[in-house]
């Protein structure tokens, strides 16, 4: 009998608490889900060849429509928001080009790398410095060199071929290079080069114009 009474009291006391916790959790999850398309939209904006604050403002306003529109049910709005942001992320460079943005020196790293790379996998260290100088006309002061070795041939602006070899062993490598612009910093930008989960920072990039962060991933076979 006592067990029943305690059970009923427990249910009366704990029930509302459990319900409230459930509500809080679902609200938290909803908030987190909304952040996913916003993050994807930020990637789209970073893929624009130039700083375009007006496009950023426009796309964010449109995303708000998807996330808070009248018909926005949680799963539907997440799906629509993701579709909207992913579509823009895919075509952002094309939009930038259509609007006549002159590519900034570091605007389209992946494209430039593909254009100048003639043979071999992309290299690192000294070669990377040379690549930047050739492709963008910028001086890069390396803070260190990568341990892997690979031979890469670049074609310079006047058509000359430059081959560079680094010491060490190089297998299949996945590159992930991020160029990060620090607002207000003219010569103190950071390039983070990650190779096989190793991150190196290269500082002292002198740039001839503004740029946004750009990420590339190049799969290369030695």
């Amino acid at each position: 009998m006592m067990q029943w009474i305690f059970g009923i009291i427990g249910a009366v006391v704990c029930g509302p608490i459990i319900l409230a916790l459930g509500d809080l959790a679902s609200e938290e999850i909803r908030g987190r889900l909304d952040a996913i398309p916003r993050a994807l939209l930020k990637i789209a904006i970073r893929r624009l060849p130039h700083l375009r604050d007006d496009l950023e403002a426009e796309w964010q306003a449109e995303l708000v429509e998807f996330l808070h529109g009248a018909e926005a049910l949680p799963i539907t709005r997440l799906w629509r928001g993701l579709k909207f942001a992913a579509g823009l992320a895919r075509v952002a460079p094309r939009i930038g080009r259509a609007l006549g943005d002159a590519p900034a020196p570091l605007a389209n790293l992946a494209d430039a790398m593909e254009q100048v790379r003639v043979s071999g996998p992309p290299a690192h260290g000294d070669d990377f410095v040379r690549f930047f100088k050739l492709a963008y006309g910028v001086e890069l002061v390396p803070a260190g060199s990568m341990p892997n070795s690979c031979q890469t041939t670049y074609r310079g602006p006047t058509g000359e071929l430059i081959t560079s070899t680094l010491q060490g062993a190089c297998g299949t490598c996945l590159w992930d290079v991020t160029v990060e612009h620090r607002p207000g910093g003219i010569v103190q930008d950071v390039i983070r080069c990650r190779m096989r989960n190793e991150t190196r920072e290269v500082t002292g990039l002198r740039m001839a114009g503004g740029y946004r962060a750009e990420s590339i991933a190049v799969a290369a076979q030695s």
Partner: protein, 114 residues
Amino acid sequence: MDGSEVRVTLAVAQLLRVFLDRIREPQYGYELMKVTGFPSGKLYPILARLQAAGWLERQSEAVDPAVAGRPARYHYRLSEKGAAAARHALAAVYQDLAPTSTQRRTLRTAGGAA
């Protein structure tokens, strides 16, 4: 970019048609996506091309985000040059898609009683 450089594909023609049908109303991306059914990856490059060609004008909405409860949208509308060019382009598309005289005859002969 000159207006003559706009390549009027079927998708561009569809979008121009929407702008011409609602020539007095400024359009924004979300609305255009709903009307045309185009995804963002298809709509925005077209808008950018038309804007670069001077066919579309783009303007920020004059609202106070704090009052409206949302950020200001960007509106698109056909420019004067764009409206004329759009009509011309659509007329050319319709002409290209119109059945030839032989096809018209065939259609008339094969058609049943109304």
